[in-house]
Subunit: 327 residues, 4 copies
């Protein structure tokens, strides 16, 4: 890509990128461009960046964490928080004196306080145990308020997790460099939508970086790879994203060994519209040369069976020796 | 459409599609293009694709299912889940020993356990029956936690269903091929907004496929049909989407019988902005030749009555013999 | 506007409208164009269209209604529903026999049943009155389930009302046709944002219709009016939207009396981004000649006072006799 | 910027702004342009505008306020509201007569009423105290309804606060005018994303205003500053936004003292997409000449350490004497 080229950016708008500026336009600065042996984008799409001296509460459980941890962890956290809060209130009720709670004893005094707290926090209120003095009643007022608040926050969080626009796109474990057509090779990877919700207007942008000899030593250079197609309108099956390695390709003349020596990295940035919520979703990943198989192509993932198409997700990573590969 | 044509895609951006690539740009690959007697898009807008070997939980009730089933099914599922969970807890309370619950007996011991569980799960807590030992109290702690969680999830789901952007667009049962103007015919179908919420900036894209003789046998070919207009700004009445069959039309010279033999299919893709939530909504449908009436036109659906326009949804499917039809 | 003109449409995309198609592109068909004495767009921005034979539930309270009625009506409806549901359950409890409820009598038997139902529906559960037989307990199970469901729906609705993107844009009561510059007049109206939330990127589209003599009699013609500016980036003060009546204006040479005779109507369509929720909001209105003052201009609405700008909403509708008006 | 220039506006659409219209297109009118010693945009991005005669409820706590106050204030308000409402209901229960509440006395009669109200409002319902007459039961009906409603509103508000798209972008305390390349200076400021959620497609628009001698006296003139780049695709590190002061720059030939005398102001408008919610977020700020350091440049904020990049937020405001500054 020796000259400027009009490409579609991740949101589908035309974006003119001057190759010499690609490193900065991507938001990676000069330090990034000169350091070796350091990956920019991790395989899972996160950036290889650690922030220090951020707000103190980032060290505790943040909203972002509560949104992005797995459901299992979320429920465990919810359960632990529920038990801890009730234990704290149980302790406080015990400080309110012997007449704080009236009713039959259940297990130890702490157990009685704890179960009374659950009774209150969850707004059950059996009344078998009830608050007996003013201090306990003040605590009940506080705990009920807190219970309502926590529950409202929990409901909000659960819904926020539900409605968060996420693309569950599976990337093939390996990219391939294999024969294309007219005797040239192509860089390819394959994606599939794992969710039941349809994705439409799927856009792909593939950026390639490698170290090359520059005026002041080795420099990380960035190239946007021209794709056979940047967008598919529907995505009910798989999509093999293809960059043909023609004469204008920055990969032209680079052997796998040269790319490996140059710490080549391929950044994938996808956007799509999730139909169920009409939300724009983003997905990122990256391949290094350790994730590229040369001289292979993907096997078909789907077949027409009994009047419908059957897509087998287990075949996503299946490649086969390509016939006529030059590599 | 013998040459490239700048069309508006579903989100209103200009999109240049090379006809030879239309099959792939739509996300249907080469297998799709060569298999006969298999529909690509179902009448209700879903794709004719089955996914196998997906995540195991897809076989159970998924989030996507909970969002997209009807309200009746959703409520039934909610009620069934409520009863089952309470029955499970009722069983567990019975395992806690004879002193687990104190208070008068109501029906059978299981009934008492069950109603106590409801009392707890719903956080009512009458207290006529109350937990009598530590084991029962631990169960209560667990059940209250679960009750709050389930309720939060239920609230989240209900709101997610409410706020899901859906276009309730009615398509006329039949498309028509009937006389247009200047002596040519047109392919037409008619849509109307069934929801009370206004739709604005409604965009339509119509794609046509049929089998034609290619170099390696019969091949499914794709054509985007040029429309009289791709967008209407307001949509308070009906919209008859019209593709004039002029010399440049891929339908030019194709009789209904030829289209039928070629397994012609017409894919409709609509996008619009729902004003109530300012959300972009999508709608898809398809017509095969079994859904096309030739030589007919639509009857008017609305009239001016007493100073306002009256739109009669019952007339959506009404067609009449067209005067001057060539078919 | 005798020739085509590239304008920005309501979502900011360039849109080429052929004047002869304006009537249809707006979504108003040929009947609309030929009927006299019938307004297309009401002053409050709603369409003058009634739908018949729609889904039956549209006659009852629909989701759309629950979202768009005023908060006062919403709360009254909520309260009425709460009382009615509890009254129904009160009746059902009375059908469960004399031993359905245990505990002291409160007022009439119906009152006791009613208050017990409230106790249950709201999941309070004092336990002063409690269910005494299996039938009553089954009802309690049903009512608690329904209570949770209703509450979840209520919460969902309230949040949906909160989060609904609405533009509370005030339009000046009257548009004006008054002196502009270089000796020509302009059609103007003035808007202001009544909400505390900032609006940015406000786009305006003004369309004008009137009856003119056509080949087959009087026809409603549509014209898009070129504006001095289509967009303001920020909207902290007022915005006077201006259409200069130059030689290319469709209003050029039309006196107020001619416009009135032609049933002239001016349709305003605004879109903007609400900053608080980053949502795109829509607003529509229309002016007929009864809403246009000729030979007047607007008075200033804001002044710089003590280092800040003070915007007085009471001055929105204030006009004054214009100097040098030709009308 | 003596001639028109195609720039990207805040939403990434190309926007042609005629310099002479910049003052009005930004939404600031003629009064704004002629008043001196008055800032247009405050440092925190709010407009320096006060609205009078708005709706009466704006003086009370509005939805906008409840969304935008800090979480601490929000919780305090919630707590205060909870206590006040219960105190009101406590008073009402006392008006219902001596037999309104049955059960043991707890502290004063008001305390008993208050704690009973909490018991009801939070739907706990211990039953140690219960309503004894019809009037008290009617109050309970009302309070339970209100409790459910308030809780639903609270949940809605909390979620609305959670899901509100906010950009927590930190701006460097000072902008700098320092050496760029090829012997020219540049106006720069530096931003960083303080949130854990990634921002993508970050767009910047910088507008500059100053007073200049016009035909009718001093006038505020507006200029959009051309940037080295208007957008970065990813934003995991910092971004130094750069306006090179070349011959076409409106800052060319203006010394810091001249700018200070002209009450120069620099308006920053950023938009970006928050990946966690796929929402477009806005951020604004402004610099006056008191916020600009001349002859300085920013120090690096990040380093490559042990195979990852470490970004130190404490270094955001760190500048250093620039070598070769002409100022």
């Amino acid at each position: 890509m020796a000259d400027n080229e009009q490409v579609m950016n991740a949101t589908g708008e035309p974006l003119v990128i001057k190759p010499s500026d690609l490193d900065r336009d991507l938001g990676f600065g000069s330090v990034v461009s000169s350091r070796r042996n350091i990956r920019l984008l991790n395989r899972d799409g996160s950036f290889n960046v650690k922030v220090v001296n951020g707000p103190a509460w980032d060290h505790l459980i943040s909203y972002h964490t509560l949104l992005t941890i797995s459901w299992t962890k979320f429920y465990l956290l919810f359960g632990a928080g529920y038990l801890v809060l009730n234990a704290i209130f149980a302790g406080l009720y015990m400080l309110c004196g012997p007449d704080a709670l009236t009713g039959p004893s259940i297990g130890t005094p702490f157990a009685r306080s704890f179960f009374f707290s659950v009774d209150t926090f969850a707004t059950i209120g059996y009344g078998n145990v009830s608050p007996g003095n003013v201090a306990a009643n003040i605590l009940v007022t506080l705990e009920s308020m807190m219970g309502l608040l926590m529950f409202a926050i929990g409901t909000g969080l659960i819904f926020a997790r539900f409605s968060r626009p996420t693309a569950d796109i599976l990337y093939s474990r390996f990219a391939v460099i294999g024969p294309y057509k007219n005797g040239i090779d192509a860089f390819k990877f394959r994606i599939v939508n794992r969710k039941q919700s349809q994705l439409v207007n799927v856009d792909a942008v593939v950026t390639h970086s490698r170290f090359e000899q520059g005026p002041t030593g080795l420099e990380r250079k960035f190239f946007q790879l021209a794709l056979e197609r940047n967008r598919v309108v529907f995505f009910p099956l798989n999509w093999t994203v293809v960059h043909p390695i023609d004469e204008k390709s920055p990969l032209n003349g680079w052997t796998p060994d040269m790319l490996r020596a140059g710490e080549a990295e391929f950044y994938i940035s996808l956007t799509a519209v999730d139909e169920t919520f009409a939300q724009t979703v983003h997905s990122r990943s990256s391949y290094t040369m350790d994730d590229v198989k040369c001289g292979e192509n993907y096997r078909m993932m789907y077949e027409a069976v009994d009047g419908e198409f059957v897509l087998d997700l287990d075949l996503l990573d299946k490649t086969e020796k390509a016939v006529g590969s030059r590599k």
